[in-house]
Amino acid sequence: MVDSLTNFLKVKNNRRFRLPGFGLSTGITLTYLSVLVLIPLVALVVTASTITRHELVTILTNPRVIAAFKVTFSTAIVAAVINGIFGTLVAWVHARYSYPGKRLLDALIDLPFALPTAVAGIALTALFASNGWVGQFLVPLGINLNYSWWGITIALVFVGMPFVIRTVEPVLDDFDKELEEAARTLGATPWQTFVKVIFPLLLPAVLTGTTLAFARCLGEYGSVVFISGNMPMKTEIVPLLIITKLEQYDYVGATVIATTMLVLSFGLLLIVNLIQWIQRRRLGMES
């Protein structure tokens, strides 16, 4: 079996030798990968393919479904953009300036990454709901974040925060000081230097981080369900819709929506990666 596997994978038989463990490592890897990842995903695809076109259209044109997609994608984009802007700002401040407590805050930036989404969900609700610590100040201003689109977005800002910051920070740390010095000797003001020299070179990292944040926000469930109120047509997100359908044993509906979501997310990510690839080719024609 190892031999046929070897042939299938066209393992190169170097004139040297092969380290032992090929059979075992390949066996574990492929088996585990298939059972845990491939087969379940295939199950999704298979189930999806049993759905008739008629069913598909009916489900996807349902107003509630469309509304859920709109909510999910719009909140994710806006949250990602907010993270893009503020994340770059935080990365800049942390790379260039120091202030008391910076190390603590810097370490905490990974919190959204480590904190269980359910805990984040109830904490953010407690903070931003109309009787929350922050929310109470916003109510007199007319901003009520309970059960609102903005509530979802704020929660997603929390979720996506580390992505932009951690992607941009290293680029800033490694930034070639001589480029800024050259710009100064050529007469540029600090602002001009930032806009014309620094930012264009940061942009790929900012875009990558924003994309990562966007991808994460699309699928987010736990952090959002508490503050959103889950009102159909208004603040219902796609993941919740899928769960609702499952609880109603509407497997077909759940599968259709899930598959559509996957296809849309993959598609979007592919487009963004393409854009980045083009950008990098322009910049990175370096050897």
Binding site: T26, L38, Y97
Partner: protein, 267 residues
Amino acid sequence: MIRRLLIAITVLFLTVFLILPIVVVIVSAFAQGMATYWAAITEPEALDALQLTLTAAGVAVICNTIFGLAAAWMITNYAFRGKNLLITLIDLPFTVSPVISGLIFVLLFGGRSGIGRWLIDHGFKIIFATPGIILATCFVTFPFVARELIPLMQSQGNQEEEAAYMLGANGWQLFWRVTVPKIKWGILYGVVLAAGRAVGEFGAVSVVSGHIRGVTNTLPLHIEILYNEYQFSAAFAVATILLVFAIVTLVLKRYLEYRIERKVTPS
């Protein structure tokens, strides 16, 4: 000065989004006094949830670590076609949203599918039972260890292993005496990340569990139930357990990063 303004905005932003959530959890947990807090976290259902969470996380981390080691070994030491495809497939669970991650297991093992019916007839309950939760947790944390080890081992190369082999070491000796010492910090780092995620997983487990109190609730699900029943202090009390876990994860992560001396971009 612009500098002060930028720092001020940064501090405000980070404080509101990072410090305040932590504080609000702690304060709300103790809002009704120490007794309520203690009762909430020692309640049998909470303890059951804790046990289930730890079990699922433990199994997931162990399985995924074994997988990560096997995959990294395979990718580093052998040349074969489809290597890039394999690496992409390993990343796949990252790109799937948690709820969908749970959904696929429901489709595969749930009552509607052939496999599911066979299993139920023979008395195996996967969905709405512990095995399902473990599976979903494994899926969601699948790439963590592998993603750490693959680039690490690739950059370290396999010359030491080859040298040891030529000196007569067999496969296991190679692995334990040569490879593992090299990558031990990478393994720990991946384990910490995977454990953090496994304990906190909510969406996927929510789908798969059926929310049966005392039986198929993990801690995050238990929190959700308490919250929906307006037992806010209890919910936050249980949440503090997870909060402590998260902070420990963060501290370990930082420490390990320092040991490995590199910055890791999140995924």
